[in-house]
Amino acid sequence: MSTLRRFSLLKDFSDADLELLGRLMVTETHHRGHVFMREGAGAGSVRSALFLILDGTVEVTAARPVGGFAVRRSMGPGDMFGMVGLLTGGVRSATVTAAGQVQTAKLEKQTFDLLFRKNVGLHARFQLAVARQLASDIRNLRNLVKEAIDTGDAGPVVERFR
């Protein structure tokens, strides 16, 4: 339970919620090169899942507009990925690969969907937490872009994405 509370998305969840989520998750260890999800693949399949990184590092890559692939960022313990696909079933926006040995806690989409019937309150709180995270990301980026427009200087935006 204390492990799950380290994840910012889950920090406001009650002990009871985290205990139940912990019971629904499966801990797995993967080796370097393991592909957790692939850019462009549908996220709506029953094999879709949310991954919490407990140990190790993953690399997030995506096709570059000018060709080839680029590492967008690395993620490590305390980070999670796959949350939007878990909720919406959209297409994956990036490929996530293990950079070394990685330990994750996995919540499968099928299990999450069943949670709606078993504990609808927790299901809704989880949806709201993901929506809040996205709203915060958009608001931060909007403020950065707005400031760049006001000053006529795109530098801070360019730096953020390079």
């Binding site: 000018v66 996205l134 608001r139 980026l141 872009v145 360019v158």
Partner: protein, 174 residues
């Protein structure tokens, strides 16, 4: 709500629209009336049934139009979720009819009508994720060229404004 809008069905699917429709308030908006004002709290999400709206922001005292928003569009998701200030000014350019749900209804909806809350949150999550992805991709397309150089200010403001319109949902005009 007497009849479920076909636009709402197009947006949420038949089951989702039927589940959520009873929880909307129908609102008429007059020309030049603000639906959202940049920087002011307006914790409601709206769905445009008819009419036309304009999204804009203020920069150095001037109003810069980001785009038109028409029937079938959603607006206000961010403030609805985080109860923060509006990210742009949105006003009606034609008599407009909206469906609204206020932030205060969300928790009650989650408690009393979880299926409706789930439909709404799933939709908002999808919309926000798409906007964020589209905006990030647009920025990357702009800057990822190895030969990217600093452009004249007006050109820079052009692509930044386009990005801003994606972020606030002003480019989803019908």
């Amino acid at each position: 709500m007497s009849a479920i809008s076909t636009l709402l069905v197009d947006s949420l699917g038949e089951e989702g629209a039927a589940t959520l429709a009873p929880h909307f308030e129908r609102v008429q908006v007059a020309v030049n009336e603000h639906v959202f004002t940049d920087g002011q709290r307006a914790a409601r999400v709206v769905f445009v049934l008819s009419g036309s709206l304009e999204a804009a922001y203020d920069s150095d005292g001037s109003r810069v139009v980001l785009g038109q928003v028409g029937p079938g569009s959603w607006l206000g998701e961010i403030g609805f979720i985080d109860w923060g200030p509006a990210t742009a000014t949105v006003l009606a350019t034609e008599p407009t009819e909206l469906l609204c749900i206020h932030h205060g209804q969300l928790l009650a909806l989650a408690e009393d009508h979880p299926a409706a809350a789930s439909v709404l949150l799933r939709h908002i999550t999808r919309v926000l994720a798409e906007r964020l992805q589209k905006s990030k991709s647009g920025i990357l397309r702009q800057i990822e060229d190895e030969e990217f150089v600093v452009e004249p200010v007006e050109q820079t403001r052009g692509w930044l404004s386009r990005t801003l319109s994606w972020l606030v949902g002003a480019s989803e005009a019908a």
